[in-house]
């Protein structure tokens, strides 16, 4: 996984901006004062202890969760309660879940073509061509006519990535994409993600795969108790973490 992370982003426009984002579940403050600026083509890895608000943070970006204070702008469009606005952002932002969430009643091919056909109004043939080329990219074209339940976890997650890519998104969000997988399947999914990263996709990945972070991330963000505690390029982040909480966390996950 020796991919050079040297990747000049100084000239790149910023595509996601979070300013003073706060969110509560009842009395519980899940996100407090999150400020984040993501450049086009930037690869960000978010890590942190369980329950620290990582999922909540990336789910606010495509409005699966609603934040209560602050502003989130994607491609210059500020998220509001306007349904058109939300749908426009969701067309640009693909998401991959920990539990795959493929549609079990549809074949793999139909899973992939559903959104292009209905959201983008793409002709069926064209959508199928794109779907097949993406399935080839994630190396499972032969599974196109099967149902999700007939595939292994790793294959399902690769289908889920292909499904998100089918909409030609500008940004991809990953929420612990390898956490539900058996160890021998983790690599096949990471390989697909690394390939995507080298092609210049803007990516926000919640993951504890530190090898992946070292190989492709432009920036690693450490979250704890709803805050961004520390962030920086992977070399610096892993070599000399400044915050005590970061050190404790890295100690726990790297020595196991």
């Amino acid at each position: 996984m020796a991919i050079t992370a040297a990747h000049d982003l100084s000239q790149a426009p910023s595509v996601i901006q979070l300013k003073g984002v706060n969110k509560w579940y009842g009395q519980f403050h899940v996100l407090s004062d999150i400020n984040l600026d993501v450049k086009q083509g930037e690869r960000i890895v978010i890590c942190g202890p369980s329950g620290s608000g990582k999922s909540t943070l990336i789910r606010c970006i495509n409005r699966l969760e609603e934040h209560q204070r602050g502003d989130i702008a994607v491609h210059g469009v500020t998220l509001s309660n306007d349904v058109k606005n939300i749908e426009a952002i969701r067309r640009e932002v693909g998401m991959v879940f920990q539990s795959f969430n493929l549609f079990p009643h549809l074949t793999i091919l139909d899973n992939l073509t559903l959104a292009p056909i209905w959201v983008k109004k793409m002709p069926k043939r064209e959508a199928e061509d794109i779907a097949m080329s993406l399935l080839r990219r994630v190396r499972i074209p032969e599974q196109a006519s099967k149902y999700p339940g007939q595939l292994s976890g790793g294959q399902q997650q690769r289908v889920a990535i292909a499904r998100a890519l089918c909409m030609r998104p500008k940004i991809m969000l990953f929420d612990e994409p390898t956490s539900a997988l058996d160890p021998e399947m983790v690599k096949e999914v990471l390989d697909v993600m690394i390939e995507l990263a080298t092609e210049g996709m803007t990516m926000l990945c919640v993951t504890h795969e530190m090898g992946f972070a070292r190989a492709v991330a432009d920036r690693v963000i450490f979250m704890d108790r709803g805050e961004i505690v520390e962030q920086g390029p992977p070399t610096e982040f892993f070599a000399n973490p400044r915050n005590e909480r970061t050190r404790t966390f890295l100690g726990q996950i790297l020595h196991h």
Partner: protein, 425 residues
């Protein structure tokens, strides 16, 4: 085994068990003394019952006879069914016109059987049902009068439905065509209601008119059940979706409606529809009694279907909604393409169970004087010439109901396996 090196263990065949018919019988019927005695006792009881029934229903039965007198002292009096079957099947429908309800029943059964096949689930079904229903009702009524307001309403509904259903798949020109159709319907209806357009009726009358009060027997039961369910099913789905809505008003209305209907016996709904509804209508306005009963059963079935469907909606993992949302599908696309196909699959058995219960419940319409199949069977007993053979008639009626309900039950099994093909692990 010892000479097989580690890591190259051979696959062993499973241990042999008693196989063949004798093996099965020994294992399942005579595995112990208690089991053996139970088996023998039950077999004897079944043989005795069957023997008695065949003796009564076949060997000593009377198949044709001029009157009930000739049946006395013999077994089952099937002569009564032979004599009365036309009345039981078609009620008071004019006798020489019985071919009309017969063909209507055949047409409706054909539509049902065609729709049962999964390969037919496409746009063709809309045509089959539109044409089939029109033919069936034309046969039953003999003449159909379409008033101008009804025609405009239908045009409006077809236009709106077309524009909505094709909104995502159709070309702009097609959508505009549907909108134009809806527009014509709307303008026509408005002009008619404002009195700017004179009233007119289109009359299609190839046969003599037979009013609904003369309808009876099997066609009535099938119409109530089929069209009751045809309308109750979508209504029930809407109620179930409404009950899970985030909008408090919609949610409240749906919950209120469901609980209200579920808290009342069907009989009282039917009585309300037949006795109380006319009191609230302005004088001069009458709604056909048959239609009122149909509306009552639709509302009743919808409430129950809604609760069954809600169970299916709740069984879906949250991730399915989130994945659909994250792709940018609209609420309607998400519901129609992702949520309902899965939720309905889960609830096929309880849903068909509701359908079966509902099919039998239609017999309650006899309380308000509608002659459904059970009621005509009942009436066949009134003839003094044939008095004294209720078992035969009820057995016959039960047999016909059983055929319908059993088919539905088998169909439920077929549908479950058919829809779960491949999706199972």
């Amino acid at each position: 085994m010892t000479d097989v090196p580690v890591g190259e263990r051979r696959q062993l065949p499973p241990p042999t068990t008693d196989s063949g018919a004798w093996g099965w019988i020994r294992q399942n019927l005579f595995s112990s003394w208690g089991n053996g005695i139970t088996t023998v006792a039950l077999v004897l009881a079944i043989v005795w019952l069957l023997n008695w029934f065949i003796e009564w229903a076949v060997l000593t039965a009377v198949w044709t006879a001029p009157s009930g007198q000739d049946c006395r002292g013999h077994g089952a009096c099937w002569a009564l069914i032979h004599e009365k079957y036309r009345y039981i099947f078609f009620g008071s429908f004019p006798y020489e016109q019985h071919w009309r309800p017969l063909f209507a029943v055949i047409a409706m059964l054909a539509m049902l059987i065609l729709s049962a096949d999964r390969r037919m689930w496409n746009k063709r079904l809309i045509w089959i049902w539109s044409i089939g229903s029109f033919v069936s009702f034309l046969l039953m009524f003999g003449e159909i009068n379409l008033s101008s307001s009804l025609i405009f309403s239908i045009v409006l509904i077809v236009g709106v439905a077309g524009a909505t259903l094709r909104s995502t798949a159709g070309s702009a020109a097609e959508i505009n065509a549907w909108r134009a159709v809806a527009g014509i319907g709307f303008v026509g209806l408005m002009l008619r209601l404002l009195g700017l357009l004179p009233a007119f009726t289109i009359s299609i009358a190839p046969l003599s008119y037979v009013e609904t009060s003369l309808w009876g027997g099997l066609p009535v039961t099938i119409i109530l059940a089929t069209y009751g369910l045809l309308f109750a099913f979508p209504l029930g789905i809407l109620l179930a979706l409404g009950r899970r809505s985030h909008l408090p008003l919609i949610k409240g209305l749906c919950v209120g409606f469901i609980e209200l209907i579920r808290g009342v016996p069907l009989i009282s709904l039917l009585i309300m529809a037949s006795v109380m509804l006319p009191l609230f209508l302005p004088s001069g306005v009458t709604i056909d009694k048959f239609l009122r009963a149909l509306v009552a059963v639709i509302l009743f079935a919808a409430a129950y279907i809604a609760e069954v469907v809600r169970g299916g909606l709740q069984s879906l993992p949250k991730g399915q909604y989130e994945a659909a949302d994250a792709m940018g599908l609209t609420y309607f696309q998400k519901t129609a393409l992702v949520i309902l196909p899965q939720a309905l699959r889960v609830v096929i058995p309880p849903l068909i169970n509701t359908f079966i219960g509902f099919f039998k419940d239609t017999s309650l319409v006899l309380i308000i004087g509608i002659f459904d199949f059970l009621n005509t069977a009942n009436q066949a007993l009134v003839d003094p010439k044939w008095a004294g053979f209720p078992s035969e008639v009820y057995l016959f009626a039960a047999f016909v109901y059983f055929c319908f309900c059993f088919s539905m039950s088998r169909y439920s099994k077929y549908l479950e396996t058919e829809l779960n093909k491949g999706t199972r692990r």
